[in-house]
């Protein structure tokens, strides 16, 4: 293999491919990137056996071939080379030489045939949708995913495609985020759980453009075809809990507050919330929403936010992080909260839309 390219063009492929490589691997080769020079392109593959990213960049190919390079070192070298000088990659057995200006590096590669590929299996259905639609769905729900939960099916996002509606649901068992989006109809109903890592990579890869991406679902995997990049991830096998059961009807005591004002008040109150529990009190009464926090050092804070509310006062404890993350993800200027009592979840919506929906269970303080 022998190619020549520029720093910018190489980085466009190396960056995303290296980002899926784990810092600690079970197999040495999983710390490598697989490079293929063919035609007028260099294909770069990174994998952790759960996700796989293939990036293609235009390069000048003098000699076709395949090599592997240690991902982290390769990325660091390319990144730190000067912008202007062209970069040459060439192969000497399993050693890879990088030449640029007056810099010269030799990296130790591994047998390219040993590099594992993700077998995504027979494809089931293929659909396309605008990048920004998928990005929006993930961005407004992914914060509620569980992390390393033994209920492994919570460590990801449920995607449900029924008719023209694509829905994303994430929950860590304490709070839940749901967002619907109208899209082109899928050929058949789809219910899959994208794992956490796949979701995070996708959020990085997806842009705000209306350009469509192709999505292929197989029973065990899903593959996303973006411009210059193919990203595939294993799906989480398992049953997502019946989330419909825990989303209350929108018939609670309604409180409407200004989103920016509420968000700033939450940010200030969080400073004195109990560091471990993150618990704060939310009290609503005629025309006002009162936030209060106290910590074990006997420090206290109170914030009042003008609110559209009339009725009997209600007081509920919440994890301030859960409120902050939900409010930050809301699209509208006005927030509508449905509250019941101190033992029941609250439902948070944009005042003028029915989606996204956030459900948060209270804390017993």
């Amino acid at each position: 293999m022998r190619i020549e390219s520029s720093k910018e063009e190489l980085l466009a492929g190396v960056n995303p491919a290296a980002s899926v490589v784990e810092t600690r691997q079970t197999l040495p080769i999983l710390g490598h990137l697989h490079l293929t020079a063919e035609g007028e392109h260099l294909q770069i593959i990174g994998t952790d056996l759960e996700v796989e990213l293939r990036a293609t960049c235009p390069v000048a190919v003098a000699e076709e071939g395949q090599v592997t390079v240690p991902a982290r070192k390769f990325l660091d070298i390319i990144r730190s080379l000067p912008e202007a000088a062209p970069i040459q990659l060439s192969q000497e057995g399993e050693r890879i030489q990088i030449l640029s200006g007056r810099s010269r590096f030799h990296l130790a590669g591994l047998a390219p045939d040993d590099f594992p590929r993700l077998e995504i299996g027979d494809h089931q259905s293929e659909v396309s949708l605008p990048q920004e639609a998928l990005k929006g769905l993930l961005e407004r729900t992914s914060f509620a995913m569980a992390r390393d939960d033994v209920r492994y099916y919570l460590n990801g996002i449920l995607l449900e495609w029924t008719g023209n509606n694509l829905r994303a649901v994430a929950t860590d068992g304490h709070r839940l985020a749901l967002m619907d989006r109208e899209v082109a109809a899928a050929p058949e109903e789809i219910h899959v759980i994208l794992p956490r890592k796949g979701v995070q990579e996708l959020e990085r890869l997806l842009g705000d453009s209306e350009e469509t991406i192709e999505v292929t679902f197989t029973p065990s995997h899903v593959r996303f075809q973006l411009p210059g990049i193919t990203f595939a991830t294993k799906l989480i096998e398992g049953r997502f809990p019946d989330y419909r059961r825990v989303i209350p009807e929108a018939n609670g005591h309604q409180v409407v507050v200004d989103r920016a004002t509420f968000q700033q008040a939450l940010r200030r109150i969080a400073i004195l919330a109990n560091r471990k529990t993150h618990g704060i009190r939310v009290a609503v009464r005629e025309g006002t929403l009162v936030l209060s926090a106290e910590n074990p050092d006997q420090e206290e804070a109170t914030e009042e936010v003008a609110a559209d509310f009339s009725g009997e006062p209600i007081e509920i404890g919440f994890n301030v992080d859960y409120l902050q993350q939900a409010i930050a993800a809301l699209p509208d200027d006005q927030v509508l909260l449905h509250l019941w009592d101190s033992q029941s979840s609250c439902l948070i919506l944009p005042a003028a839309q029915t989606t996204p929906k956030y459900v948060i269970m209270p804390m017993r303080l």
């Binding site: 992390r147 390393d148 939960d149 033994v150 929950t171 068992g173 304490h174 709070r175 839940l176 809990p241 825990v246 109990n274 471990k276 529990t277 618990g279 404890g317 994890n319 033992q343 979840s345 459900v359 269970m361 209270p362 804390m363 017993r364 303080l365």
Partner: protein, 357 residues
């Protein structure tokens, strides 16, 4: 040189969790009350009040069994914040009597009164004063054992429970211990008890009749310790408890285990014991370790550190079962299984309610 006899108290609250509910919620006073896991799930009983114990309900019993035995019982989920608050007041009160106090759990502590009687004429008078203060300030009852060692003080507090005071003077220690079954001694678990039973040693008096060498021959190093304990010789000091780093239990099987499903069941019961131990100490931990010993005495451990401490015994059991899959269990017979939780922190009094129940 003859030393002054030590004066040690063991204070053990009576059905602490349930008693707090009964005290604060008058409608619960006359009904059988069980605090613990979900009776429709797989939780275990943490504490039962004495009305419930009449029905055969006791700690560590699966809550579902308790419900079957006594369907009219009121089942409550633990309210750790209240127990912790009660415990703080209890320990504060006890520390007025001695600066040498060693809390064992939320509702249990050792007190050393040697050279610390202050204004009380006798250890018994001090013990009575403690019981009166607990009654007045906490509205709860406590059983107290008084003796010259931790071992006997602990056994004595259990002698006349609930609401009892048992004083064992040094001269009566051998007589007090003699009729007790061997399993009452610390360190005698099911395996040791089985070995002793096979040697026709059922009571502490039986142990005493043996020479130290015989017990060491029978049981190994613990035999020597048991010989001392059987004579009431226990000079363990009472001190402020060193910070606990982990909490674990293990069990040696009568017959080596090969069946994974059976080992899963055993891990579930170990998880319930560890979970209960953490609960009564107001602790939670994030690092779960499973230990397995093979017939050739090779011992392996497998650990996992979780983002959040497992909230229920069931979640702990699930992690333990996953860790078991990373040992040779199933292919190689297993003679011992252990489960430990480390990376301990104080459990949060504020409780986040779950979405899915």
């Amino acid at each position: 040189m003859s030393e002054r006899p030590r004066r040690i108290l063991h204070c053990d609250m009576d059905g602490f969790f349930a008693a707090i509910h009964r005290r604060d919620e008058p409608h619960l006073r006359e009904v059988p009350l069980v605090v613990g896991g979900d009776p429709d799930g797989r939780g275990v009983v943490s504490t039962a009040n004495y009305a419930a114990r009449r029905y055969g309900r006791h700690s560590a019993m699966p809550a579902a069994t308790a419900k079957r035995l006594c369907p009219e019982a009121v089942f409550l989920r633990p309210d750790l914040a209240r127990y912790r608050a009660g415990s703080r007041r209890l320990m504060a009160l006890l520390s007025e009597f001695s600066d040498r106090i060693e809390p064992v759990s939320l509702d249990e502590a050792y007190l050393e009164l040697t050279d610390r009687l202050s204004s009380y004429p006798s250890t018994t008078a001090a013990a009575e004063a403690i019981r009166a203060r607990v009654r007045e300030t906490l509205g709860l009852t406590v059983s107290v054992g008084v003796a010259n060692s931790r071992l006997v003080a602990k056994l004595a507090s259990d002698w006349d429970k609930p609401d009892g005071l048992t004083v064992v003077p040094p001269k009566q220690v051998p007589g007090f211990l003699a009729p007790l079954p061997v399993r009452k001694l610390p360190g005698v678990g099911p395996t040791t008890e089985r070995t002793l039973t096979e040697a026709s040693l059922a009571t502490v008096a039986d142990l005493r009749a043996q020479g130290r060498e015989r017990l060491v021959h029978l049981l190994g190093r613990i035999g020597g310790t048991l010989h001392n304990l059987a004579w009431g010789r226990d000079d363990c000091p009472v001190g402020v408890e060193r910070a606990r780093k982990s909490l674990g239990v293990e069990t040696t099987f009568a017959v080596d285990q090969v069946n994974l499903a059976e080992m899963d069941r055993i891990l579930t019961s170990l998880a319930e014991r560890v979970h209960r131990g953490l609960l009564t100490r107001g602790l939670t931990g994030r690092t779960v370790t499973v230990k397995a010993r093979y017939p050739d005495f090779r011992t392996v451990t497998r650990s996992q550190t979780l983002a959040e401490p497992p909230a229920e015994a069931e979640a702990l059991a699930t992690v333990a079962q996953q860790l078991l899959r990373r040992t040779e269990a199933g292919q190689t017979p297993v003679r011992l299984l252990g489960l430990t939780v480390a990376n301990l922190t104080e459990a949060e009094p504020a409780e986040q309610l779950p979405l899915f129940r």
